[in-house]
Symmetry: D2
Subunit: 366 residues, 4 copies
């Protein structure tokens, strides 16, 4: 209710601030019997971790996760899994000069008005650092989904500022610090980022996420539609300003005879639906696209006001990502996994025992 818990049957309750003693979460509702170790979680955390290339924030956080509960003799017990990550490299002094001013584009102003108290150190609770617990929880969700349905969830960078990135291969995504699915574009991206850093500015990005091998039938009829919950989860990621499913905004200029994916015995012909019809999964790949705004913390001086209501100029000298979209792919994957596992459990609650004679047709060839 206070906005720190995600999900209904598989829930993630996060806690912590960017520069407090620790961050973490309690994962509740994970089915018992799943093999789980800290290594399973660490892999995904490492993909999101800061400080791994010169193109992201230089804050050094090992982000080592500790499982405090819910696992016994290497398996989940069905009780809450508590995950703890201690903060290490919190240089709060970097933020001393902005303690009283509101940074344009930042949550400073709104937190101040909402809570009447402001933890100015690194953005406090509004920091993107708080996506780490979600990534950790998402790792558990992914493992379970893969074991149950063979579900594979992968994200990639589709555009950095003006540079659109062609999709060449999933294999390439893990080979470069941009999560770009094309090797040829890397030098261009590096030059672009270096120039931004010199200019003390930042840029936006588009990240795509795809979930394959999702069972048919996930999602609720009116208000917890699968695509609605995906939109909620994605728009809730720091800096996201737009979400598309399937054809997305492109569907505005489509005709019905073009958009509606036909069905044949070989499967759906096309996937304008993005794997969701009437809010419920079709069995096709779920395809999602995100617009991520440019980082607000930049070294360019900007006009603002302070907590006393006086004019102020603000520059941010802390360590920041010049393009927050770069580390967004693992976060978006985790959020998609968390939405899917929640709906998979809801489906199980509601519909066990329902037998449909029609076989699910194969997923789209697209």
């Amino acid at each position: 209710m206070s906005g720190n818990t995600l999900g209904h049957l598989f829930t993630v309750t996060t806690f912590g601030e960017s520069h407090g003693p620790a961050i973490g979460c309690v994962v509740d509702g994970c089915p018992p019997g799943l093999e789980l170790s800290e290594d399973d979680i660490q892999q995904d955390l490492d993909r999101r971790r800061p400080g791994t290339s010169r193109h992201v924030t230089q804050r050094q956080e090992p982000d080592r996760v500790e499982i405090l509960s819910g696992v016994f003799e290497g398996r989940t017990t069905g009780t809450p899994i508590s995950l703890l990550i201690r903060n290490q490299d919190a240089r709060s002094k970097d933020y001393g000069n902005i303690a009283r001013s509101f940074r344009p584009g930042h949550a400073d102003y709104t937190y101040w008005h909402k809570y009447g108290i402001r933890d100015h150190r690194g953005g406090g609770r509004s920091s993107a650092r708080l996506t780490a617990p979600a990534v950790a929880a998402g790792a558990i969700a992914r493992k379970w989904l893969h074991g149950q349905f063979g579900t594979v969830i992968r994200g990639y960078m589709a555009q950095v500022g003006e540079i659109a990135i062609p999709f060449t291969s999933w294999d390439e995504v893990a080979r470069n610090p941009f999560f770009a699915p094309d090797a040829a574009v890397i030098p261009q991206l590096e030059a672009y980022m270096d120039e931004l850093r010199r200019a003390g500015d930042s840029c936006g990005a588009r990240v795509n996420v795809v979930a394959e091998h999702v069972p048919v039938g996930l999602g609720e009829p009116i208000y917890d539609k699968l695509d609605a919950d995906i939109a909620y989860a994605m728009m809730g990621i720091n800096a996201v300003k737009g979400v598309e499913i399937g054809a997305g905004f492109g569907s505005i200029v489509q005709r019905g005879s073009e958009h509606g994916d036909e069905l044949t015995l070989q499967g759906f012909v096309g996937n304008n639906a993005g794997g969701v019809l009437g809010g419920i999964s079709t069995g096709q790949p779920i395809t999602v696209s995100l617009a991520i705004k440019p980082t607000s913390s930049i070294r360019t001086p900007r006009r603002s006001i302070d907590v006393g209501g006086e004019p102020a100029m603000v520059e941010t000298f802390g360590r920041h990502d010049p393009c927050v979209g770069i580390r967004a792919a693992p976060i978006a994957e985790a959020m998609l996994a968390l939405v899917l596992i929640d709906h998979a459990l809801r489906h199980r609650a509601q519909n066990a025992g329902v037998h449909v004679s029609t076989p699910a047709i194969p997923g789209s060839s697209s």
Copy 2:
């Protein structure tokens, strides 16, 4: 949990099917003491109602709402408000020919797989007719928000198929059946719709919604961000495939020095944020844009399969909107109102007694 309830403190639980005896909802959590009559609700229902021009479905539904509870001597009592709308013009026989086949682009296939039972009459529960109860509930939310904060929520048609519509004036929106904010474009839209109808095809649309006079501080920090909840509410509207807040997908190609709205004593300079920073309202107008796919029910024959898993050709002869986006503005307004009232009540629960000395700066002049 079964996806028929919206909201946390101001909740709307809907029921009904397109061709069942009735549709309606229970609105719970409305503060006591609000003056409320059926007329207050009917006004919004009438804006969404079918059959009002040749450009929308010809189904004749008066959509008369009856208040069954929660209002005593003209005021809300704080207890559940039950709203009932009887279905009148349910010509189920129109659907007999598609009872066994799945319509491309429709929820038929997914409902069948989810529930093992299919109410083929007019789409059953998946019909856009089920947005009527939300519009009714939204009318209550709007009235309360306006009384408390002066909040005004308005939507308009921004694009029909390839035809982008310039924003000329709010006044124009109510004067034409397209909710278009420009008089000059109407003949073009009419010709376009007539042509589509002749072709037995349909088209997509873009609808924008704006909420003005929203108090600063609404929204939760991590998972029930105001923009996340808006994305959820909007993506849950039938046929919506994309949602943007503020600069939306345009922010991909912006620089941080351009996107981050500066603050001055006269207010924010620009509104790329769309009225939300860090998931919390800034006091500026909330601006949302939706992509709506073309209607799936068209008279063009399309390939599909039936419940027995056999190939089938499907044409839809029922009464349908050639552009479902046309009636979407009042629905989007209602959904935005429902999200805002829920957050306004949550804010009240959490933060009463917090006093911030900084005055909220004026809303953006944009």
Copy 3:
């Protein structure tokens, strides 16, 4: 959140006031495919209905239920089931004389302070009439539980005022207006009630409820324990002031060597646990006992104050049950059914696929 919805996966949202146009509920989360007709529900409503003997209120309400949604061709569809009961015999004028005064023992005073608005007609929303929608919803739950597990839920009157009623037979319960499980005590009960009515007074009661053939494993570990949810559901019934599970308050004077039910291959030896250990069902009968206070609306003049803060004397001349416990058995059965179905669905969500080699031992022979 506003206290009008029960359950998590199988939810009941009620609406209505004692003297408004209608009462009813929306049942959400009922699994699809259950055969359901209005007759299935009417049977339970008729057992709770007023006016059926001289020992209960003489208000004449047929309590005919109408199913407005969620059932298609005689089976549930998995979408919300809306149930409507029109009020018929609302003699609001009976309450005119108490419109401004607070009746001792009644919710008048607290509703006035909570809502600032008071529907004085028959208690408005606080009336026990509002248990009717729960009984209707409970009928659906019972039918599903019986079909899935053979669960049988039955309640009976165990004590009326000072008169303890021996348990002789379940068959007897349906044969008298008191739900008493013993024929011999009926004349004594009738004389007692007649005397109370003459005296213009009322009395308390104890009602017991038993659920047999409940599967092992229902209930959550810490906060939604099965017995906790039962206590919540029972204490929420109008006029209930105490709830016991199994040995209840008798366990205070037991030793551990007496209370802890031993296990043998033939089953548990005894059922002090009342079918719940560690908050989770054991497979034994669930046994619950309720204390129900005497009706507050009596013809005896009593001291009170009015809405202006002035002293007042209050007598209640409306039609009232002299012992509200008399009609409580079907209500308690319904509440128990609603708790059990909710936990059965939760269990399914969380634990499908878990295989335990230990067979569940037979239920206790007690």
Copy 4:
């Protein structure tokens, strides 16, 4: 949903097992601005702590709490407060001999059937040790309630086995290890406990809790009645088998003319209601009474079965409380505080702005 979270607006999500690395909770929804330190919480934890007298378990746990988040510069920020308690004295080997057998009266059997996995070490998640996080969270709730309304919540031991304890004074409660409100009875209690320990047996208890200075108007109308939520919270405490509000089971033999508390300008006359009418607080003291069963882990050999379905004899040699009721008072106080703060916040959400001219009359003199 998985039963590890309590509350709606002020939520407590607990984690941990009796013999895992740590236990703790995340408290969400605490209003910002409350002064809070670890000492505030430690005081209540120390009252519940084991090993403080020879009459309770000898397990040595300092139960030192660490605040990981949600507090900045000595005040709550409105974001989640994470509380961590490391387990120290976990002698799992004590439990080796019962790893395969089910202890009569214990959750072993039901956890095994629910989860298919059993953490046999000290009861795992079902251990009463898991009440510590709730006590810690309750300390925060109490501090806030006291600051807002002057609310005081106190519990005491009212009966140990057959020994009823007269209420002499609140001051006495803190002076003896039994939380007994009478000094004279202490020698008798000590002798009784020593005898039980020699016999290898255990006994039940009655604990009473009272909340004074509770504002009028807390509680919801139908399903989240204040007394229903209290019953839920109390029945969820380990070993509780019965809950009473006000006159409780005594109301069965009362007449309406006796039970219904009259109102005068000086306040309510009597408090049979226990501070709740129609599920909503009256402003009088909330009075609750609990039946606590005798400890199940005793040194007396008892019949059972094992996980293979074979007969077994079980004796428990671990360190256990001979009367779990002894440490129950601080737990019951915490649960009552958690229910009250949740309803106080809900009340604020729903009813701010409602002005009632009738003054709340003074609390009962009883």
